[in-house]
């Protein structure tokens, strides 16, 4: 179903439809993430991917045209490149462990320690929260700085525009 959504999205020229479809896609992705036991990630994806980014895209569409122009040449080169990349990646999966293999390296390293000692050391039963806020608190601080910088960038870009349009009047 997700693949169908993305396929329609690729074909569609009406940008409004593209934005709505990308929101649908985000909700589907959130559902898949719940099925994969990643409840925290699914909640964030539903709120941020389907909510905030849709609002941002609609806001940008309000300021731009909503139809995509047709272009002349057929996109054979990008298509070929995408297919080749996909083929190489599929070849690469043959070196990866099978889905849900308990012996896979991902389950052998630090994860077990977090699951066993995390609640005792931090007192938080949700291990994702414990790692995010306690063990990797500095990471989260860095992330906030990234978001802050992006916010400053957006304000700087859009404020110059408002000043100029006031100057025109």
């Amino acid at each position: 179903m997700m693949l169908v959504t993305v396929a329609v999205l690729t074909r569609s020229r009406n940008l409004f439809a593209v934005v709505v479809l990308s929101s649908v896609y985000s909700f589907l992705m959130a559902t898949v993430l719940v099925a994969l036991d990643a409840v925290d990630v699914a909640m964030t994806e539903a709120a941020v991917g389907a909510g905030v980014s849709t609002v941002l895209l609609l806001g940008a569409l309000h300021l731009c045209r909503t139809e995509e122009a047709k272009h002349a040449q057929a996109p054979w080169l990008p298509l070929a490149m995408a297919v080749v990349t996909g083929g190489v990646l599929v070849y690469g999966t043959y070196g990866l462990p099978a889905f849900s293999d308990p012996q896979a390296p991902i389950h052998q390293h630090v994860a077990a320690r977090y699951l066993n000692d995390g609640p005792k050391e931090t007192g938080v039963p949700n291990v994702v929260t414990a790692v995010l806020a306690s063990y990797r608190g500095y990471d989260t601080l860095g992330e906030t700085i990234v978001v802050f910088t992006a916010g400053i960038g957006v304000v700087a870009l859009l404020r110059r525009r408002r000043q100029r349009s006031e100057g025109d009047r």
Partner: protein, 118 residues
């Protein structure tokens, strides 16, 4: 090695390739950004899917459960989602500015306008 054991990787790769194709083939800047977002979500899937254990539960410690999915990819991807929205917001702000400067959000029209005024 059978088809079912690697299906999650292949679905991820399909999404990734579609996102890549949209970014490369479409000239419209907003559509390029949507393609970038699809590419990003495929990366989320790439990280989360190997952490799942069939029969396990979400990594919230409770009595009665002993098998949990791996919490570390979840933490990484939470950060990635937030950074992704920051990238999208900045990209859209740039698109709005480009549209003001060139009165177009199509890549080829912008390049043509660039050539006309040296």
């Amino acid at each position: 090695m059978n088809a079912a054991s690697h299906f999650s990787y292949w679905a991820t790769i399909c999404l990734m390739v579609m996102g890549l194709f949209i970014v490369m083939a479409r000239a419209n800047l907003i559509k390029k950004l949507v393609g970038l977002a699809i590419f990003q979500t495929s990366i989320y899937l790439l990280y989360i899917a190997p952490g799942k254990l069939i029969g396990g539960t979400a990594p919230i410690i409770a009595d009665g459960f002993s098998v949990y999915s791996n919490p570390l990819p979840h933490v990484l991807i939470l950060t990635a989602i937030v950074v992704g929205i920051a990238v999208l917001a900045l990209g859209l702000a740039l698109v709005v500015r480009i549209r003001e400067a060139y009165d177009s959000i199509e890549e080829d029209e912008i390049l043509a306008a660039e050539e006309r005024q040296p």
